[in-house]
């Protein structure tokens, strides 16, 4: 096998003392910034980038990649124990992870998310190894029409991520969509809702919105509550053993999550957050007891965690094989290659095989290190966030502010994160959930941008989106999903009226 012998060569490179060292540094740092709410991989990678100037390109790539996928592991720890997402893509893990922790099952939740993360990453790496050229070929043929169709499907599908009133959730999606329109309109260059403030020209950052709505708001919320004993839970290895039922409910959601994540990750511009949201929505749709979601359903943490890890690996496919970075962080990693005079493109794998396969091998090594960091050594991370509330929460607020500031070195981002924190708190008080806001915020601008571009390209012919095979299929799926939602809503209404 060609691929396997290339991989063996890759391991030879990845096992060099220097690469091993930087892989370890990368994933450990990734876990750390993942655990600490506020500082995300974007900030960490941009701060590390100048250092990579002085490293071998492969070593630099191995380290930066380690930070990138390591953060996905760490992020779930804070989500489960504190209901504060370590990274935006683990925000959805709060919904079921935290209730599990409250029910005394924090150990199980941490165990399950780590295993799911590893599984997702492993499937992502296998896909990266064997199917890169094919996935790249699919992704390269995606035009705005396809992106629009797939994002629409995602938005409709994920609009059910709520436990409360569907109407309220829909309102929150709309709020998110509106927030997403702030800034310079891509098509016309006009300023929308910037109120003349230059700092809003580029709109709100996703880290700002996610950390404000989920992180800061949770802290404000908890000030009112009496001190729970939650963070004092000891996470002994013993408490991590899942029940037999947990084991039964684990494999399928994890596999589905990995599949969805691997696909979404390979599309430039989608990313881990969307992957996690979509897998959660799929599980909730497929579940025989969707009412359990939000109260500690194990599928609600396995699917998104395996999904965001798979996506964090396959995100390298468009970056390395097409030279097209899918996210801001990927663009930075690509920049690290550019500094070394390597231009990613379709010939990268054939021109720099030692780099590509060294990186792939480092993915295996890094993910195994991450499992070790997250299972036997979990208490190191848990203890980080087990300080007494009166130290921990101010500390986290400082970290969030520093992390948000570090991305752009822009003071207003700190102001905005606090603003979104209070807004999120008010929403919570009135029974609105922040998850649909984030969803609308992430997907809205992409939806609009691709729709307008598709219409521009097809000369205003909306039906062209239905005529293209791939986008047509996704549009049909969206229509079916909508129909099914209406039918099941009507059915449950009838059932409800019969009961009363």
């Amino acid at each position: 096998m060609d691929t396997l012998s290339a991989l063996v060569g890759g391991f030879a490179i990845a096992f060099s003392v220097q690469n091993l060292q930087y892989c370890f540094i990368g994933v450990t740092l990734g876990t750390l910034i993942g655990v600490l709410p506020g500082i995300g991989s974007l900030a960490a990678v941009s701060m590390l980038l100048p250092i990579t100037f002085y490293l071998e390109p492969t070593t630099a790539l191995v380290m930066l990649a380690g930070v990138f996928y390591g953060a996905e592991y760490g992020g779930s720890i804070a989500s489960i124990l504190l209901r504060l997402p370590g990274t935006p893509s683990t925000a959805i893990t709060c919904l079921d992870g935290h209730p599990m922790a409250k029910a005394g099952r924090a150990g199980v939740a941490l165990f399950v998310t780590t295993v799911a993360s590893f599984l997702g990453a492993a499937i992502g790496i296998v896909i990266l190894m064997f199917f890169s050229p094919y996935l790249a070929a699919v992704a390269r043929n995606f035009t705005s029409a396809e992106y629009f169709a797939i994002i629409l499907l995602g938005l409709i599908g994920a609009s059910t991520i709520t436990n409360g009133s569907a109407f309220k959730a829909l309102m929150m999606v709309v709020v998110g969509l509106l927030l997403g329109t702030v800034g310079t309109d891509l098509s016309s260059g006009a300023q929308r809702f910037t109120l003349g403030a230059t700092t809003l020209y580029d709109g709100f950052g996703i880290v700002v919105v996610a950390m404000g709505l989920f992180g800061i708001s949770e802290i404000i919320h908890s000030i009112r509550l009496s001190r729970s004993a939650l963070t004092d839970q000891r996470i002994a290895l013993r408490t991590m053993i899942p029940t037999r039922q947990d084991m039964r409910e684990f494999p399928m959601p994890a596999l589905r999550g990995a599949g969805i994540g691997a696909f979404i990750g390979a599309l430039p511009g989608a990313g881990q957050t969307i992957a996690a949201f979509m897998s959660y929505a799929v599980e909730k749709k497929l579940s025989r007891r969707p009412e359990k979601f939000g109260t500690g359903a194990i599928e609600g943490i396995t699917a998104p965690e395996s999904s965001n890890n798979a996506a964090s690996i396959t995100a390298f496919i468009p970056t390395l094989t097409l030279g097209i970075p899918g996210s801001a962080t990927m663009a930075l990693i690509l920049g690290a290659l550019l500094i070394h005079g390597i231009t990613p493109g379709p010939n990268l794998i054939s021109n720099n095989p030692e780099m590509f396969w060294g990186l792939v091998a480092s993915f295996w090594i890094g993910n195994i290190i991450l499992v070790i960091l997250n299972l036997p050594l979990i208490n190191i991370w848990v203890r980080l966030i087990q300080l007494p509330y009166n130290y921990l929460y101010p500390g986290i607020i400082v970290l969030v502010c520093v992390g948000v500031f570090a991305v752009n070195l822009n003071v207003y981002d700190v102001v905005f994160v606090i603003f979104f924190g209070f807004a999120g708190y008010l929403l919570k008080v009135y029974g609105f959930e922040p998850a649909p806001v984030l969803l609308g915020f992430v997907l809205g601008p992409m939806l609009e941008e691709n729709l307008r571009r598709a219409l521009l390209v097809h000369r205003g012919d909306f039906w062209a989106i239905f005529e293209r095979p791939i986008s047509g299929t996704f549009m049909a799926m969206s229509a079916l999903l909508l129909l099914w939602m209406v039918v099941s809503a009507v059915r449950s209404l009838r059932r409800g009226s019969r009961r009363t």
Binding site: L49, P50, T143, T199, G345, P346, R453
Partner: protein, 322 residues
């Protein structure tokens, strides 16, 4: 060069032992870290240039020169930060065609005036942009593209890295000069425009040369012309638009600026040091490797260049918003 270094070391030494207005200035300029603020994110080609120069100056002059990325608001945040830093002789701007050439005519509420608030130091490099098509188009020259666009007015689609980007406005100028009409399709970033080109969504895409070699070498896209006045040394076979349309030059550029009111002595010294740095053999080779054309203009030439650029882009913005 040796003399200059000795002078620097000597002046630091003097400043450390003596107090007085003359040595204070020397101290302020050599002892503390000098910050070049880049309003765009780390890892971009502008950033690579800024870091290469800062590293070279640090090594040559023996005092720290650093690059700080202060991003946001199409670069306005970083530019404003330099303006607000005042003439302290420590904070300078890595200006580019977007933030200091185009945006002044495009954005109404900019918190800075590109002419009044800054003094040009040196136009260090230009980045030629390449007008690209896919091999399936079957054309290899700009003339053929112009002919095709004349045959089908308003039908060909060109992609750019966004409305008001250098790539977009360069094409607006090209259309006006060549008397053709195409549809503008904006993308969120140049690499996504290239993907749109490869996917067949658009007919033409313009993007900075530094990020293109991967796709060009693989034969995925064909560069038919570069937007700089001269051909790019990396692709000598690709003709410049100027060879078809006389005087055409819409290369992106990097020009360093000092806040207005900076001590003229510092302006003069720094300008000369920037020119020395980009002409350093090793730096120059690295710059050319990433697709930059080293210009290294002195202060007067840079000021004239900047004034002309502001006018050119004002015209392009008017064409685009007409």
């Amino acid at each position: 060069m040796l003399n200059r270094r000795n002078f620097m070391i000597a002046s630091v030494g003097t400043a450390m032992t003596m107090a007085g207005p003359v040595s204070l200035r020397a101290q302020a300029w050599t002892d503390q870290p000098v910050i070049f603020i880049n309003p765009f994110s780390a890892g971009s080609s502008v950033d690579v240039v800024a870091r290469l120069i800062a590293d070279n100056m640090t090594a040559r002059l023996g005092s720290p020169f650093r690059v700080q990325n202060r991003t946001g608001a199409s670069g306005a945040i970083g530019v404003e930060a330099v303006k607000n830093a005042g003439a302290d002789g420590l904070t300078f701007l890595v200006g580019s065609s977007g933030s200091m050439g185009i945006n002044p005519s495009r954005l109404p509420d900019l918190p800075y005036d590109a002419r009044e608030d800054f003094v040009p130091l040196s136009h260090v490099v230009s980045f030629p942009q390449a007008v690209c098509v896919t091999p399936a188009k079957g054309i290899t020259t700009l003339e053929e593209l112009i002919a095709m666009a004349r045959e089908r007015p308003g039908e060909l689609r060109f992609g750019s890295s966004g409305t008001g980007s250098t790539a977009h406005l360069a094409m607006e100028l090209l259309q006006a000069r060549a008397g053709i009409e195409m549809i503008h399709v904006p993308y969120r970033g140049g690499s996504l425009a290239i993907q749109g080109l490869i996917a067949g969504e658009i007919d033409v895409a313009t993007e900075g040369l530094p990020s293109l070699p991967g796709q060009i070498d693989a034969g995925e896209i064909v560069p038919i012309a570069v937007t700089s006045e001269a051909r790019s040394p990396n692709y000598p076979q690709v003709r410049a638009i100027a060879e078809t349309i006389e005087g055409f030059d819409t290369a992106a550029w990097i020009l360093y600026f000092a806040p207005a009111g900076t001590d003229p002595a510092i302006v003069e010294t720094l300008s000369a040091e920037l020119v020395t740095s980009v002409n350093d053999a090793e730096v120059k080779a690295r710059l050319e490797e990433i697709g930059a054309v080293v210009t290294g203009r002195d202060q007067a030439a840079s000021a004239a260049f900047h004034a002309a650029e502001l006018e050119k882009w004002a015209e392009a913005v008017e064409l685009a918003t007409r």
